[in-house]
């Protein structure tokens, strides 16, 4: 829904949510269901963010940014009635059981929600400036390395050097929930339906350019066409950099905050290839191809170092997914759709931006990997679409094309995500809440960060801290 | 209120029902298969030169309200004997006479067992009390008011007659005296619910006396004649020689009947005094009565009651007084006899109830013997069955009256007829459940609707009431 407004018109809402991705729509549905007047503002012409299904070749569809997303917490899935709104997820691939990581994830969810529900106390005079924080679940993971845990390196952005201490944190990230029927776009439709039926307004095609404050509190969001949205609370689902560096002027926020944000490192980016095949490759009728297949060639440490240096690794860690093995309607009859996800791809190679040649080189490398795993792929190839980190940045407004919202290292996770004063949802700016990939729950679960921010908004409203 | 009503069967129930409906304003046609009316009361069983009814010679259950409302006394119904005492013949000793006078009964039982003599009065009083309370269920379309009666009824419904009698009495002679009555309706005396038949018999009333047996002057045929007169006076059309073969249905309502000749008689209401089995199985298209009902009715009761009438030249000493004489040695024999009859064999020691009738011509005496239990479908061919039955009964009678066989001038045998199964649930069911059928407009008004099969006309009166009410409501 695109609103047309003239210059200078102010509209008043209880909550304004920036970004209509999974988090934004979930937050919008949550708040609207509890009676608030909510608007979700989206820059793109349609809602969904990285939950999209794209027809990249006539008759061939795939989700461009990822095939699967981290799990939506069951309570939120049920409360938003997503299955009955059309989002049916296939069974997650049989995972290596990691009960420790699952338990910690659940505890983190509980912890973030508990923090959100407690409005911050007014600091009494003469109290220490930074009160000691309660310990976070999973802190012992932050001391171990992945190699010690003996687990495989999770892909899709959780890439790190497994021998480094603290790399075990990456275990928490991105256990997938299975593929939705019809691609991730169905999830976006379901979330959108949930939000609209609850009464939220979704405005597409409007870009928020800045947040205006009065006496330190966020009171209005300025849009690209000059109009303003006034609201009592703002939830930003953009990543950390965009939230603090692009929505505010360079001299508006304290220097220390700007330094912290600047120091927040991005995770290794991923590149995706969407392949349209005229026929399923030989050997793909195996049961194994119903799940994502890791090409066991990568040396994760090497790849990580190559990424740090700004080069494309020789043998990037790759995951292949034969989408039509699970959902046969994503390609025309008799054809197949294959996706290749490459990890440790730099956003800006050391020798300049991504040129046509560099893309082709990466594409050939990926096709070679695919051919090795599934002989006959190249022969049956009809079309290829490639997405590299700059494309992600352009299309989703994510700094450095980083779907993870920030590196998953021990210093940037749990209580430190994105920084201690902002753990969870509340930012140092009053009236502004952070959801999205850079928040504590961002890379761990889908929709959870948005709902946590919504919970914080409700708690603060009940406590009278929001006008 | 206009409307055609058909009544199938011109026995006492059929005629009574027809009369009631005619008095309520309906146009009633009674269809009778035989040439003469009366059913079990008509003199159809030939004994030498005489003809006697094929049913019991004495009435016990004729509803006094029917007698009053249809003014049967004015039309000529009178009773020759009003209260037949129960006499149990003993091989060893005097016959045991249990009359209405409790003191005399006490004296009669005391030589056998003092304890039983004391208990007999109590037993009879409590039975008659409960039986009077049960009239609310068995005479009206009502329910038991008091909780203790309901409990008592429930207990009796689970008790067999044998258990009941065993628990009250100890002397064989006294228990055996009730052996014949315990087999009423074709129930085994050791089956649950058979004590209900004893209770039901105690609930009946003849000539103002509870639990009495009375013989009308002229025999049961007189009752049939009187009822026919009442029916004809009320304007009922009785057609004899019309055997119904089929009932016509439209959807689930009855529309008429087809007679053997092929004639079709249309009527919106049909009352049948025939058995439930005949009415619902033989007359209706298959399944019209309901599959479970049809399945239940498929097999008739294997055990029934037969009648043997002996024309005697001289009166045997044992049968001197007018009495209802029961010939049974022990109560246990009844269960054994029942088992034998269920298997299709003539029991070696059946229970007999003999009543003496005087003819006023030659030969002068008729001994009417009701025999229970007898197989309805015997394994022997009819000739062999008759012979064996005759031999068995004569042997039993000879034990008490020697030289009886020599005095027999002629005999007549009415073999047991198939009838509906009797269950405790049927005896305690409501009148609606017994009279109404799954087919709309079809009612049962004869033995099938009575709690215990007997010549009563009570079911006919109530069924006529139901039918009249439905006709007034109009068929939807």
């Amino acid at each position: 829904m695109v609103l047309r407004r003239g210059n200078g018109v102010r509209l008043r809402y209880d909550a304004c949510i920036i970004g209509a991705g999974a988090d934004g729509l979930a937050a919008g549905a949550w708040l609207a269901a509890r009676g608030l007047k909510v608007v979700v503002v989206e820059r793109d012409s349609h809602a969904g963010g990285r939950c999209a299904t794209r027809q990249f070749h006539p008759g061939f569809r795939a989700s461009p940014f990822a095939d699967e997303l981290p799990e939506i917490p069951p309570a939120i899935f049920r409360a938003l009635d997503l299955a009955r709104r059309g989002a049916v997820f296939s069974c997650a691939a049989e995972p290596e059981p990691q009960p420790e990581a699952d338990a910690i994830r659940a505890q983190l969810l509980a912890r973030v929600f508990a923090d959100a529900e407690t409005p911050p106390q007014r600091r009494p005079l003469f109290a220490p400036r930074h009160a000691r924080m309660r310990p976070w679940p999973g802190e012992d993971l932050a001391a171990r390395s992945l190699a010690d845990c003996g687990a495989a390196v999770p892909l899709d952005g959780g890439l790190c050097d497994p021998s480094l201490a603290g790399s075990a944190i990456a275990l928490l990230a991105g256990v997938s929930a299975g593929m939705p029927a019809g691609g991730l776009g169905r999830l976006a439709e379901a979330l959108r339906a949930a939000a609209e039926e609850a009464g939220a307004e979704i405005s597409c095609g409007l870009e928020v350019t800045d947040i205006r404050r009065k006496r330190g509190r966020a009171v209005a969001a300025g849009l690209a066409d000059g109009s303003e949205i006034a609201a009592r609370a703002f939830i930003s689902t953009l990543d950390l950099r965009r939230t603090f560096l692009s929505l505010f002027a360079w001299n508006e926020l304290p220097r220390a905050l700007i330094d912290l944000v600047g120091a927040f490192r991005a995770a290794p980016g991923t590149a995706r290839l969407l392949l349209a095949l005229a026929a399923p490759p030989d050997g793909s009728h195996n049961e194994a191809w119903r799940a994502p297949v890791r090409v066991a060639s990568a040396n994760a440490a090497e790849a990580y170092r190559a990424w740090r240096a700004g080069t494309v690794p020789d043998r990037p860690p790759a995951t292949l997914r034969l989408v039509t093995a699970v959902d046969p309607f994503m390609a025309p009859q008799g054809c197949a759709t294959l996706t290749v996800t490459l990890g440790a791809i730099p956003h800006t190679p050391f020798d300049g931006a991504w040129t046509h040649d560099k893309r082709n080189k990466l594409r050939d490398a990926a096709l070679a990997i695919a051919e090795q795993a599934l002989p006959g792929t190249i022969a049956r190839l009809k079309a290829v679409e490639m997405i590299v980190p700059p494309d992600v940045e352009n299309q989703l407004a994510l700094s450095e094309g980083d779907l993870m919202g920030g590196d998953l290292s021990a210093t940037q996770m749990l209580g430190f995500r994105p920084f201690p004063e902002c753990a969870g949802t509340r930012t140092p700016v009053e009236g502004l809440y952070l959801a999205g990939p850079s928040s504590a729950l961002g890379p761990l679960m889908t929709c959870a960060a948005g709902v946590a921010a919504a919970t914080a908004v409700l708690a603060d409203m009940d406590a009278g801290r929001l006008r | 209120m206009s409307g055609e009503v058909l009544v199938i069967g011109a026995g006492p129930s059929g005629l009574a029902a027809a009369t009631y409906l005619a008095r309520a304003g309906a146009h009633v046609i009674v269809l009778e298969a035989e040439a003469e009316v009366g059913g079990r009361c008509a003199n159809r069983l030939g004994v030498g030169a005489f003809a006697v009814p094929s049913g019991p010679p004495a009435l016990q259950a004729l509803d006094p309200r029917v007698v009053k409302e249809l003014k049967l006394a004015r039309l000529g119904l009178a009773f020759a004997v009003r209260d037949l005492p129960l006499t149990g013949l003993r091989i060893d000793g005097k016959p045991l006479v249990l009359g209405r006078d409790l003191h005399e009964a006490h004296c009669a039982i005391a030589p056998l067992s003092q304890r039983d003599a004391e208990r007999y009065g109590e037993f009879r009083r409590s039975q008659f009390d409960l039986a009077r309370a049960m009239r609310a269920v068995w005479w009206e379309d009502g329910d038991l008011a008091r909780e203790e009666h309901r409990r008592e009824l429930h207990r009796l419904a689970l008790t067999s007659a044998a258990t009941l009698l065993e628990s009250v009495f100890e002397s064989d002679a006294l228990k055996a005296a009730f052996a014949f009555d315990a087999l009423a309706g074709g129930l085994s005396p050791s089956s649950a619910g058979s004590s209900l038949t004893l209770l039901w018999q105690a609930a009946q009333e003849m000539c103002g006396l509870q639990g009495a047996f009375a013989i009308p002057r002229g025999g049961p045929a007189a009752l049939a004649g009187v009822l026919l007169k009442a029916a004809q006076n009320a304007g009922v059309e009785v057609r004899t020689g019309c055997k119904v073969t089929q009932l016509l249905l439209e959807d689930d309502a009855v529309t008429g009947a087809v007679v053997a000749r092929g004639d079709v008689i249309l009527a919106g209401t049909v009352l049948s005094s025939l058995s439930r089995r005949t009415t619902l199985l033989a007359f209706l298209p298959p399944g019209a009565a309901g599959f479970a009902v049809t399945h239940d009715l498929e097999r008739p009761q294997p055990v029934g009651e037969g009648k043997l009438v002996l024309a005697l030249n001289t009166l045997p000493a044992a049968f001197q007084q007018p009495a209802r004489t029961v010939i049974a040695e022990r109560l246990e024999d009844a269960a054994v006899a029942y088992a034998q009859a269920s298997a299709g064999r003539v029991p070696s020691d059946p229970m007999l109830e003999a009543t003496l009738l005087q003819t006023g011509a030659e030969p002068p005496f008729l001994l009417s013997v009701q025999i229970r239990p007898l197989p309805v479908e015997p394994v022997d061919p009819p000739g062999a069955f008759t012979t064996r039955l005759l031999q068995t009964v004569l042997r039993s009678l000879e034990r008490h009256a020697p030289e009886l066989t020599a005095n027999v001038a002629s005999f007549g045998l009415h073999p047991p007829q198939p009838c509906d199964r009797l269950t405790a649930a049927h005896i305690t069911a409501s009148w609606r459940e017994r009279i109404l059928t799954p087919v709309r407009g079809l009612f049962l008004c004869g033995d099938a609707a009575e709690p215990v099969p007997a010549v009563s006309c009570r079911a006919a009166r109530i069924a006529a009431g139901f039918a009249a009410a439905e006709m007034k409501r109009g068929r939807p």
Partner: protein, 364 residues
């Protein structure tokens, strides 16, 4: 464990990874081949193949078959053309449900009944009254169910042309095999003789390779039926086995829609005396543990009970059937100790086969 194996048992034994079996109507069937959740969800993506040879089937034939069948079932089958079918109940004399099934007409005087629970004695006895023969065909043929959006595509790929219309059946000659194709339930059914059963299975699996066809066990079938709001005798309610018991009546089970009141059938008077229909509805629970037979309470007041319950992997919560007379409260409903809310059936859209003429869903 029983000794009766369906004609497809050999394939089930090969494919079963966890060796989990269950007995239905005397047959041994795979409860799941791998993970139940996987199989139940696969039916919403591509298609699943399940063994339904355990369904009780009888052939009703005779000169008076139409009359008999008309009297037995609660809907009028006289107007069915050969090859068409209808769903109906059969009741006892007092109007209580004895069974539910699909009745198909196979000829002028012959019918075929497919039901989940057998009631051979009753129907045989009733048929004797009309001189109609009942032949039990359960052991004489095997049945496969093909359920999912890709079901019609799999049939096409296998060479079975012309998928049947809903509630119809026809015999097809399939490259030398004689099979019957029908569409009675959630998807298609294929019925064939035991000798060629395994060949039929293999052909379908080969055709389904391009359509993500997976074998599904009985537990997954149950979940699909549950999510589609279909009740089954034996699992969700106990049908009457007495000739005269008045419960369960069709209205109390929400099956009043399968009863044609203008038709004459056994037990009709009881249905009219039964009262209005209490519709079957669903309950969504806020948890993952099924709650069969739990008491539904609203603010301390008991409203009714849930019938049976399953975990739905697509909805990630436990679901249950329940019948509550009157209206459902808007909030505050509890099933036992778990909060829940009412939902109209079906819980999820039926995974019906997508027609060949329908365009595939447009891209976002």
């Amino acid at each position: 464990m029983s000794l009766l194996a369906t004609p497809f048992h050999a394939r089930a034994a090969e494919l079963s990874r966890n060796n989990v079996w269950e007995t239905r109507n005397g047959f041994t069937l795979a409860s799941c081949y791998g993970r139940t959740d996987d199989e139940a969800l696969a039916a919403r993506f591509g298609a699943v193949l399940a063994d339904i040879s355990w369904h009780w089937r009888i052939e009703i034939a005779g000169l008076r078959a139409v009359e008999f069948v008309s009297r037995l079932f609660t809907r009028n089958p006289a107007s069915l053309m050969p090859g068409m079918a209808l769903e109906a109940l059969w009741l006892n004399d007092a109007g209580a449900v004895r069974g539910a099934g699909t009745l198909a007409r196979t000829g002028e005087d012959s019918f075929r009944l497919v039901a989940a629970l057998e009631d051979a004695d009753w129907i045989a006895r009733a048929a004797r009254l009309y001189g109609v023969t009942i032949a039990d065909k359960t052991a004489a043929e095997g049945g496969l169910a093909l359920i999912g959006p890709a079901a019609s595509k799999v049939l096409d790929a296998a060479g079975l042309d012309g998928a049947p219309e809903p509630m119809s059946a026809r015999r097809v000659s399939w490259r030398g095999l004689d099979v019957t194709l029908s569409r009675f339930g959630l998807g298609y059914e294929l019925w064939c003789e035991p000798d060629i059963a395994l060949i039929a299975w293999d052909r379908l699996v080969a055709a389904g390779q391009g359509w993500a066809l997976r074998p599904a066990g009985q537990a997954a079938l149950d979940i699909l039926e549950f999510e589609s709001g279909l009740m089954r005798a034996g699992r969700d309610y106990r049908p009457a086995r007495d000739g005269f018991a008045p419960q369960p009546s069709p209205q109390s089970l929400g099956l009043g829609g399968l009863v044609d009141r203008s038709h004459i059938f056994n037990g009709r008077a009881g249905v009219f005396a039964g009262g209005p229909d209490s519709p079957l509805s669903g309950v969504l629970l806020d948890g993952e543990k099924p709650v069969p037979g739990a008491v539904l309470t609203h603010q301390g007041r008991a409203l009714g009970r849930t019938l049976s319950s399953r975990f739905s992997p697509a909805m990630r919560c436990a679901i249950a059937f329940a019948i509550v007379p009157g209206t459902w409260p808007a909030s505050g409903l509890m099933a036992g100790t778990m909060p829940c809310r009412a939902a109209a059936l079906p819980f999820l859209p039926i995974p019906a086969p997508m027609d060949a003429t329908e365009p595939s869903p447009a891209a976002v």
